[in-house]
Amino acid sequence: MIGNIIKKEFKELFILSTILPIVVIAIVYGSVGQMIGNVGETIKEKPVIGIVDMDAGNFSVVAMSVLTENAKVVYDGTDTEEGLQEVRKENGVALLAIPANFSQNIYDNRPGEIEIYWIMKGAGMMDSISSGTMEGLIQAVNQEISKTLIQQGSSSDPALVLNPTTRVDTTFFKGKEIEGLSPSTLSNMLMSQSIVIPIVVMMLIIMAGASVISSMGLEKENKTLETLLTLPVRRSHIVIGKMVGSALVGMIMAAIYMIGFSRYMTSFQVADINLADFGLALGMQDYLLIGISLFVALLAGLALCIVLGTFAKNYRSAQALVFPITALALISTFIVMFKDFDTIPAVLKVLVFAIPFSHPMMAIRALMLDNYPLVIGGIAYAAVFTVAMVAVAVRIFNSDRLLTGSVRKRAARGKLGWGFRR
């Protein structure tokens, strides 16, 4: 008897709509796990660097020994430009230039200056790991020189003995030369600016999407759908009406966000650093593009939700159908937060681009770095995706499927499947 009940429960619960979201989420975790695995390898690897030693003094020798021991040095010469080219070619992290008077300055009770030319690849959380390793190495150089000074019984200022070097950072990132910022500072700044949008987009898509899917479920549960479909109104108008109704609510939320965000960006500073000073501030047209990207992505998400909503049999099943949307929104959010679009593997690139809500998530960072093709391409893609999904939804609205659901194979043997009456 109990076996019979277990069998019935299993058959009722083990259905595609409950299993699919779990499969998708498992794939997401698997992909993130794969990415974390690569990061572990990155941490273990020695950073690839170039060194330009114009000093050849006692302390530059100390610095050189620390660096050569702990890093893979691909350039050791005196030409900065040549060194940069070599580091870039070898996919390196940075070129360290030790000026001619480095050791003498330290002896003269002045900090020795190290010029660091960073090659930054991406601005995601995981992209700055190799530069983080390099930061640790520079700290080790500082400590080793400090130790040498103490061993030599230096009579210098104790503050200088403890911190004998200073650094001048220049970061090359996506065609921009940003002076005075290291990749970790820049990454933190970009992250603090662009982290809000993915979360807002994720919330918007999940909330507005859930309302559209629930609306479809409620139409069926409340038995209002049949009446609606016999009214003198085009199917496309029903689909668009449902979408735009939810999109308007989403837009109001987005507009409130954008007003606050614009103000936030104007006055945003990290450690007394103004983004505008580094050519990273957004202009009016950038905000407009972000707004358009957000709106089109919202429409695309809602169009997808309408299609999913047609599978809802009632309010309860509609709730289950929200999971795929939530999973897609989570995939976009995680990937965009952890990695830069340019630094993710090709398969993930295709996945991220294919999810229309990824584009507003990536828009701020892309616009700060003048990557207009990615943003405009994303808007165009999301618009095409919306039109395609609306067409699919209208086709479903014009078919029997909306009212009859699917007919199981056994119907062929003379029994009816679920979802329709004769």
Binding site: N222, K223, T224, E226, T227, L229, T230, L231, P232, V233, R234, S399, D400, L403, T404, V407, R408, K409, A411, A412, G414, K415, L416, G417, F420, R421, R422
Partner: protein, 238 residues
């Protein structure tokens, strides 16, 4: 012109044939009833005429408009009341009538429709309460009001009195009769044979997707030598 002409209608759900080639006509100023047991194909036939389902084969015309080609035109002149219809629960009864009437007209025409809906529903002050608070009978009256207020040329009513008590059922039948007097053609389905006998001018007996007999109640009773339609139906399907 015939209000409805159905010719050799076949409707399949996947591999299952729900309607197996039925034909009938409904004339103007007529109440035509499709009667039969649950699963006979009544709802499928009405849904197909109401433009909700695709035709597998055969033809349907409604006041000369051909389905599915002119479905948009048909929707302008019909009103469909599904058996298990509901209304939007967060709207009041009046808001629901307003919502529906806006699809059919504006200005004075809209106002008149809503007024007619209010009169048919006859819910008094409760019309301003949310539909969520209505009893089944009140909801059904609101829906009958909704279906008939738009002055359809053809009202398609699927089991219009199902689930209603005797008083409410009688009231709904009265409303249907007065709509027909005002020129509306009614095509209804029911498994309540007594109701159909009371209400319909002509009847088609449907069983297992086929029309087994049709005519007036008197004609059918005479043909099958039966005391009532129920008896005629049982004899017709034997």
């Amino acid at each position: 012109m015939k209000a409805v002409e159905v010719r050799e209608l076949v409707k399949d759900y996947g591999n299952f044939r729900a309607i197996k080639g039925i034909s009938f006509e409904v004339s103007e100023k007529e109440i035509f009833g499709l009667i039969g047991p649950n699963g006979a194909g009544k709802t499928t036939a009405l849904r197909t005429i109401a433009t909700l389902l695709q035709i597998t084969s055969g033809s349907i015309t409604v006041f000369g408009y051909e389905l599915p080609k002119q479905a948009g035109e048909v929707r302008k002149i019909i009103s469909y009341l599904p058996e298990e219809a509901g209304a939007y629960k967060n709207l009041t009864g009046k808001e629901y009538l307003n919502f529906i009437a806006k699809f059919f007209g504006d200005g004075e025409k809209f106002q008149n429709m809503v007024q007619r809906g209010l009169e048919i529903a006859n819910l008094g002050e409760r019309i301003n309460d949310k539909v969520d608070t209505y009893s089944k009978g009140m909801t059904r009256r609101l829906l009958v009001g909704r279906a008939l207020m738009v002055n359809p040329r053809l009202a398609i009513l699927d089991e219009p009195t199902t689930g209603l008590d005797v008083i409410n059922a009688q009231e709904v039948r009265r409303i249907i009769n007065s709509a027909v007097e005002a020129g509306v053609v009614v095509l209804l389905s029911s498994h309540n044979m007594l109701e159909v006998e009371l209400l319909c001018h002509r009847i088609a007996l449907i069983n297992d997707g086929r029309i087994v007999a049709s005519g007036t109640a008197e004609e059918l009773k005479k043909e099958y030598d039966a005391r009532n339609i129920e008896e005629a139906f049982v004899r017709a399907i034997k």
